[in-house]
């Protein structure tokens, strides 16, 4: 029994605003060789990253729902402090091997939430309460992806509507997110599906509480505008890692697991501070392989075409505007930027505070660049197959940290 769970399968539930913690957790999981799984059914250990479990009832529902969906024996862990990932995971493993359903906390910056967790944990850890409740409730919460929006009674009944070929078919209303593998943390899309064709999409507002901390990926540029000294190299390194992170998702969603794993390894190296001399030879074969893959090209061209004209109208400023095209061309833009920024990550001169363009676009506009990406999503998704929809979302990769960030007055937004 102990041996059987020595490498637990981990289900990651990440809240928006917790990118730094997520990266620390992912790097540590990869180091240990613990697999990240995509649904509760195959998980042993639920790792809640960020404040997902402590934002009032609805979000409690997210974690509680995932937890109910995981078959026993199981354990869970809360991580809010990137420094304490190792201890927390060790604790989770120990719980799992003892067969107790307890949870470990890596809190210390959020003491006020601690009590709340403690409380919830006691409610859930009574083994009998948990087991007797399981068969009755495990219900539709079963799935990470679909039942996050407070729907307790499972999916609503299907209704009927004309599909794109004029057939009258069942319509399923399916919420996607906020916890789904290779998915922007916190993003919730409400889809109307016919078969696996997406008919209608609404982007749900982000539920996370506003955070004063700058979004992890935009940090160097925001710090530079706030007057701090930030080197060009640091910014390039962050940009490189941000795009590698997006690429990792993109490859994972297109089903290219090996490339995804490799990309994430290079991302972790970049974040760990590897010099340009180490990064460039790591990055180059990746770029070459992705550029030369005819299959990848065959599979992703024509998906989610966003012409520059339309992108500009919607306020998109980042790689999606530069790409002026489909999911494949957006990936090429990322690859290109990764190559250039990997070579530049040792530069010591100061970052010019006048040009603040983060990984997702210009940071000096009234709305964050990810807002524009989210606004473009519904039109790109409608009428596509489910699998294409996942690729399109991954190829835009909006960062919801940007939407939860509320800057202190007068520091960032020059136009305000």
């Amino acid at each position: 029994m102990r041996a059987a769970v020595s490498r637990p399968s981990v289900l990651l539930a990440v809240s928006p605003g917790a990118t730094r913690q997520r990266l620390a957790v992912e790097a540590e999981l990869a180091r240990r060789g613990w697999p990240c799984v995509s649904g509760p059914a195959e998980a042993d250990l639920l790792v809640v990253v960020g404040d997902l479990g402590s934002e009032g009832e609805e979000s409690d529902g997210v974690v509680a729902g995932l937890w109910r969906g995981i078959p026993a024996p199981k354990a869970r862990v809360w991580i809010t402090d990137p420094e304490r990932v190792v201890d927390a995971l060790d604790g989770g493993l120990a719980d799992l091997q003892r067969g107790e359903h307890e949870s470990h906390h890596a809190h210390d910056e959020h003491e006020e939430h601690h009590e709340h967790h403690e409380h919830q944990q006691n409610g859930d850890t009574d083994p009998r309460a948990d087991h007797s409740g399981h068969d009755m409730h495990s219900g539709h919460h079963g799935h990470a992806g679909h039942d996050m929006g407070g729907l307790v009674e499972g999916l609503p009944m299907a209704d009927r509507a004309d599909d794109r070929d004029g057939l009258r078919l069942d319509v399923l209303h399916v919420p996607l997110g906020p916890v789904l593998a290779d998915w922007p943390a916190g993003l919730i899309l409400r889809l109307a599906l016919q078969g696996d064709v997406v008919q209608e999409v609404t982007v749900e507002p982000v539920a996370a509480p506003p955070s004063p901390r700058p979004p992890f990926w935009d940090e160097p540029w925001l710090r530079a505008t706030a007057g701090e000294h930030v080197s060009r190299g640091d910014a390039a390194r962050r940009l490189c890692a941000a795009h590698l992170d997006s690429l990792g998702r993109f490859f994972a969603v297109t089903g290219w697991d090996d490339m995804a794993a490799r990309t994430r390894y290079v991302r972790d190296r970049a974040l760990a501070g590897a010099a340009a001399a180490e990064l460039t030879p790591l990055v180059r074969p990746l770029i070459r392989r992705a550029q030369r893959s005819r299959t990848l090209r065959w599979l992703t061209t024509g998906l989610g075409t966003l012409p520059a004209e339309q992108a500009r109208q919607r306020g998109v400023t980042g790689p999606a505007l530069v790409a002026d095209g489909d999911a494949y061309s957006r990936m090429l833009v990322w690859l290109d930027a990764v190559g250039r920024s990997a070579a530049a990550c040792d530069a010591a001169e100061a970052l010019d505070a006048a040009e603040i363009v983060g990984p997702r676009g210009r940071l000096d506009t009234p709305v964050p660049p990810s807002r524009a990406l989210l606004d473009s999503l519904p039109r790109l998704l409608e009428g596509t197959e489910f699998a294409c929809a996942r690729v399109i979302v991954a190829s835009l990769d909006p960062d919801l940290d940007e939407l939860t960030h509320v800057p202190a007055p007068g520091t960032v937004h020059s136009h305000g």
Partner: protein, 314 residues
Amino acid sequence: MGERTSLWAVLVLPALLVGVALVTAGFDAVLAAGARRGRPGSLRETVARAVEPGRQVLRHLVQQPRRTRASDLPLARIGAGLLPVAAVLAAVVLPLGFRSVSDLPEGIVWFNAMEALAWAAVWLAGWGPNSTLSLIGGYRFLAQGLAYELPHMLAITTAALGAESLRVGEVVGAQAGLWFAVWMPVAFGIYLLSAMAMAFWGPFDQPAGRDVAGGAGAELSGADRVLFLGGRWLLLVVAAAFSVPLFLGGGHGPLLPGWAWTVLKTAAVLAFLVGVRRAIPTVRMERYLELAWVVLTPLAIVQALVVAVVVLNR
């Protein structure tokens, strides 16, 4: 050719298949672990990875079963259980060397019928749990079936045509001089593609894709999961192994005994299939459907025609 074996082979066959599947899964796990750094880890780590699939099986067997709301449990269970059954039944006509458990006169049709059970199995497993993502996985397998099955049937018919028999033993016998793979390369290629598609493996793993959280198997846990995912591995092994009597000369080969040649050739095909999955992203079904109907089916027909002409002039 094609002798019958004694009754004990009926018991040995499933055990043998499970053994091969575990070894293949272990090999795949080692490759997956090496993917991150671009090289394999230490010997100790490699061994730990190789036994990982076995450990996963144990873990799932002690797991609490779970169910989703308003699920159709019998359907999901039948779906999960049918997959390994279909694989083992298909393997009945599989010769090890020149002996199979039962060399049926219409062995090729039997094989095709048994692997078609996988359609039902995956669809039921996807439908049963009443969950959208697993339902999508089920749908995808039906679309995949429509794409691969027609070229696939043409490909195995071509082999039967070359041997002028549906008996697997005679197909092997007909390759004593020249392997079918040599003069029916298109059929062989199409067979390998459909072998992967049949086991929803490699570039055709969309029905169990990560983008739908595991697709058809997304909601299965415990023993159901072992049956379903294990059944998938068995199906892959059987599909790969069947390419050996069909196209690679079965047990024919110099020096070594027939069974050793079968094992070697099967291992080579399996290694190839495992490698392909690592090298290529998942093919979306609407793209493959197009390719299968517009390119592969006509090619398979032309190949069958060529073989028919050769056989008639013999």
